[in-house]
Symmetry: C2
Subunit: 435 residues, 2 copies
Amino acid sequence: VKDPRRIVAAKRDGETLAPVDIEAFVGAYARGEISDALAAAFLMACLLRGMDASETLALTRTMVASGDTVSFRGLDRPTVDKHSTGGVADGVTLVFAPVAAALGLAVAKLSGRGLGHTGGTLDKLESIPGLRTDLSPSQIERQVASVGCAIAAQSPTLVPADGAVYALRDATATVPSVPLIAASVMSKKLAVETDLILLDVKTGSGAFMKTTAEAEALVRACLELARGWGRSAAAAVTDMSQPLGDAVGNALDVAEAVEVLRGAQRGRLRRLTVLFAARALETLHGIAHEEASAAAERSLDEGTALDRFRRMVEAQGGDPRVADDPWSVLPRAPVRMPIQPDRGGVLSAVDAEEIGLASNALGAGRVRKGDPVDPAVGIVLRPKVGERLEAGEQVGEVHARSEAEGTEAVRRVLGALTVGDDPVQPPPLVHEWYG
Amino acid sequence: VKDPRRIVAAKRDGETLAPVDIEAFVGAYARGEISDALAAAFLMACLLRGMDASETLALTRTMVASGDTVSFRGLDRPTVDKHSTGGVADGVTLVFAPVAAALGLAVAKLSGRGLGHTGGTLDKLESIPGLRTDLSPSQIERQVASVGCAIAAQSPTLVPADGAVYALRDATATVPSVPLIAASVMSKKLAVETDLILLDVKTGSGAFMKTTAEAEALVRACLELARGWGRSAAAAVTDMSQPLGDAVGNALDVAEAVEVLRGAQRGRLRRLTVLFAARALETLHGIAHEEASAAAERSLDEGTALDRFRRMVEAQGGDPRVADDPWSVLPRAPVRMPIQPDRGGVLSAVDAEEIGLASNALGAGRVRKGDPVDPAVGIVLRPKVGERLEAGEQVGEVHARSEAEGTEAVRRVLGALTVGDDPVQPPPLVHEWYG
C-alpha cells in the first residue's frame, strides 16, 4: 500500500494525481484510516495547486461511492433537480418545486441546512408547523408520484464523505476552491438519479462567489463533472449583488414564497423561478422557450403551483392552511420595527451579505452546524437597485426577538444600503446560461 | 480573539502574516488549543506560499518561547555549537567536540536522534557500553567545565513546540520547506546560549537538500535568523553527494571516529572536522586560519583530542577503553560480508541516500520516531568518487544480524555504486562558506 503522504507530497509538488490515488486517499479518509491532519494538508495543497477535470471527477466519484445512491425509477414523469449555491432571500427552490410539479415534472429535492449568511431550504420549510423533512426514500418516492414534488433532508448515508470533507474544510480554511466546491455540490446531485440537473450559481456581494469569473469557473467545473458522469445538466450564473426576493428569514421566506405562488408577487424571485422552470420544461419535454415560459407563468397565475405546494406541505405533515393564509399558521416574532432610510434618492447598491448576516444575528441563521434557528425572525426589504426611495419611507421591516436586537438589525440594514442621486441601471437577473 | 482560521486563510491567500498572528497561532497550537488539522493546513499553506524573514523569525521566536532556554554562564571558555543538517557517514560531531575541547573551546552539544536515512549522534554514542546521554543542565555544565565537551540528549522541555510541529510536518508531508526547516534547526540552536553557531548544511544525494541552491537558501534563512537574534553564526554548504566518512551505522561510526581522533584516518571526515574546528578557533580566539588549522591538525596527531574524547566518554558513564581499542568494548554484528564490485574502473558516483537506507534496513536506523536501533550493524565503504577500483577487490563490508539481511545489503550497496572508465573529478568537500 502506498504511503498516503506520498500522494499529498505529489500534489504539494504540483503533480497531477492519478484517479486511483485520489480514490485511495479520499476513500481511506472516509473510512477513518487517514488523519484529519493529513487530509487537511491534502486539501490545502489541492486548493493552492488546483485540480484538473480528471482529478475533480475522481474526487467526486469517491464521494458518491462513499454512500448510498438514490433513484426514482417508478416515476412516470421526468425528474429534475435544481440546486442553488446559496444566496440571500433566495427562495427559488420553495417556488420552483411546486411549479415544476404543476408542469408535469417530478422534483425530489434533497436539501442541506443553511450555514453562514445564506438560508437553507429545510430551515425555511420547517417553520411551517408540523412539517417534517426527514422522509425515507420510499416516502419521497410515493409523495413525488402523487404530488409531483418533495423537499426532504439529505440522508446521512448519502455522500457521507462529502459531509466529512466539508466539515474538515470549514475547520481548516480550505473552503474556497473551485474543484473542491464543484465536487461537493455535484457529488450530492450525481448520487441522486435525475433526468436533468439545474444549477443556479450565484455571484455578487451576497454569494460565496464574489465575481462572475469565479462563478463561471465553478459552473464549468460542475458541468464538466456532469458530462464525465453522462448526466444532463445546465447552469446559470445569476445575480446576487442584492437580495433576490424581499424576505430574509424562515417563516418570512415561506410567506413570500406563498405570495409568489399565488401570483401576487411579480418581482425577481418569480422571474428567476420561471426561467428555471421553463428551462426544465424545454429540456425534458422538448417545448419551445416562449411556450415553456408561458406555461410556468400560468402555473403561478392560475393557482396550479400553489395547489402542488399545499399538497406537498400536507403530505409532509405540515399545516396546509399556510398556502391560503400564511400568517394564520406561521410563527411571528414579538417585535417588528420599520426600516426607514433618512435620505431619499436612488438605491444604487445593497450589501446582500450584510443583510444576510444581520438576519443571522437576529437568530434566523446559524453560525455553526447544529445550531438551532429561530423560525420567526428576519428581515423584509423591498426596494431593488435602481429604484427611487423617499426619505422616511418605510421600505421594509425587521422581525426580532427583542427591541435591542431589532434596533441593531435596522441599523445594519440601513448601513447596507447605498442611496445616491444619479440613476442606476438595475443589475441583470441572469448573467449567462451554460450547458 | 481572532478566529485562527483567518490566519490560515490569510497565508493561504498569499498575505504576509504579522508576527503577532504567527505567535498567536503557533503558541495556541503548542498549548493544544488548535487542532492538528488546522495546523497542518497552516503548514501546507506556509510551505506553498513561503514565509519571509520576519515571519520565519516570529515562528522561531514562538518555538523558543515554548520551553526552557539554556546558558552556560559559569564557563571560562567561549562556547561553540556545531550542527549538521544530516548526512550519511557524517561523524563530524563525534570528532569535532573533542577537537574543539582540546583547542580550549567549550562544546555543549544537545542532539536529537536519527530519523530517515541519516544517523543520529546520540544513537552512535550510545553504542558505547554504559554511556548515558540523558544529562541534566547542571551535569552538562560541570562536564563541560572539566572536560570541555559534552554530547547530551536534548531535553523534552527545550523547544517543545518544535517537537510537536516537526512530528506534525512528518505526518502531513510538510517537511520540505526552507523557512520551516530553518525555524526548526535554529530554534534549537537559539534556545542554547553559545558564542558561536556553526552550521554544516549538506547537499547532494545523501542530504535532505538535494541541490546547492536549496542548501544555500536554507543557509541564508538560518543566518538571517541568527542575525535577527543577535547571535554569531557561520555556515558551510558541504558535499553529501557520497558518504562523508567510511562507516554507516552506530558502533561502526564510533570506531571510525576513534580512528580519526588518533590521527590514523586522514580522509574527508578528518578534513571537514578540521575546517569547522579551525573556523571556530578563528572566530572565537581571533587566530589566523593557517594557524587555527594547524592547531586542529595537531590535536588529532598528538592525541589531545582523543584524550578529550576518552574523558567525555568516561564522564558520561561509558567505557573509556573505547578510545584505545574500540572493538574491545563495542558490540559486533554476528555476520560480516565483504563488498566486492564485479567490475573494475573509476568510481564515478555513490548514491549516498541508498547506502543510508541500506544501513537502516540492517537495523542501524529508525523508520519511525521511537524505534530502537541496532548498535552493531551497518556498512563500511571505503572508496570515494574519483578513485580506481579493481574487479573483485574488497572495498568494504556489511555488518548484519543475518546472512539474508547481509546479502541484501551487499546487493544494495553494489547497486548504489557507479563504476565507469573515464577519470572523474572528486567533488569538492566544501561548496561555500557563509557568514
